[in-house]
Subunit: 158 residues, 2 copies
RNA sequence: AGACACCCUAUGGA
DNA sequence: TCCATAGGGTGTCT
């Protein structure tokens, strides 16, 4: 046995959507762990679910939240999302500003989806998360898989 | 020939914008006269132009200025604008205050666009102008036309 | 603190 | 083409 860091590396792909927006929605996440299974394949977890009525952005946030909550212990995470809304909130310091300003946007209006943002902050705190924005139609096979899963999840709530 | 008043009635639609703001800008105006042409259609004048660098507010003011300057003789004018900046300057007495205070704002700072405001005052003096504020996306077809013209004008200066 | 306008970005859809 | 969900900013005034 080799010694190993207690921090695992995880790559996560997330997506979410509603049709129409707002309306029935779905989200999905694929977690790829560094650990291998007995066959030598990268361990993987897949999550998906839906709701009868939501918004595209809430589904994008939910996908990331559920993925982070599905981690067993502290992890170094690369989380891929096609949502600028989500990626910029972390990468452009939006969340820090909102927390300092009492959750008001730059135009002094209440930040939407505050409940999810706060859960997301709590869930991300335990880990070292890198938020990676990926262009919507970038052709990455993993992203196409997640997209399919969102459609499947959503279909059960139409 | 019928006798007619020397004062004509004119309805004017104006708009202006920059993209980005500040940046390349355009303005446009549609003037609808009461006179009919030989086909019995309301006579109409359309104006538009652009500049390489300006601000949204300067473009809104310019649209109104150029429209008033395009009138042949004294007129009763209904001028439609979606700019509160422009409409309030005339309707809320801002301009009167500025002239009395040596072109200082309520917070003692120099009024911006003084050059355009002064030309506008001069141009409006010859007429009886009613400044009508219209909500930006009110769905009025004439306003949509003017909006299109602004885009066209601006496009030549990008 | 308020208002209007001008935009910029991405996603989700019809 | 259109709309909705969301954010950032500037131009201007009271």
């Amino acid at each position: 046995m080799q010694p190993h860091s207690t921090v695992q590396d995880v790559t996560i792909y997330t997506d979410g959507g509603c049709s129409p927006n707002p309306g029935p929605g779905g989200w999905a996440a694929i977690l790829l762990f560094d650990e291998k299974d007995v066959a030598g394949r990268r361990k993987e977890k897949r999550l998906k679910d839906g709701v009868y009525d939501s918004t595209n952005n809430r589904m994008e946030l939910t996908a990331a939240l559920k993925a982070l909550e599905a981690l067993d212990g502290p992890a170094r995470v690369e989380l891929h999302t096609d949502s600028r809304y989500l990626a910029n909130a972390f990468n452009q310091g939006w969340l820090e500003n909102w927390q300092e300003n009492g959750w008001k946007t730059a135009s002094k209006k209440p930040v939407k989806n505050k409940d999810l943002w706060q859960k997301l902050l709590a869930a991300a705190e335990a880990h070292e998360v890198e938020w990676i924005w990926v262009e919507g139609h970038a052709g990455d096979p993993l992203n196409e898989r997640v997209d399919d899963m969102v459609g499947q999840a959503r279909a059960e709530f139409e």
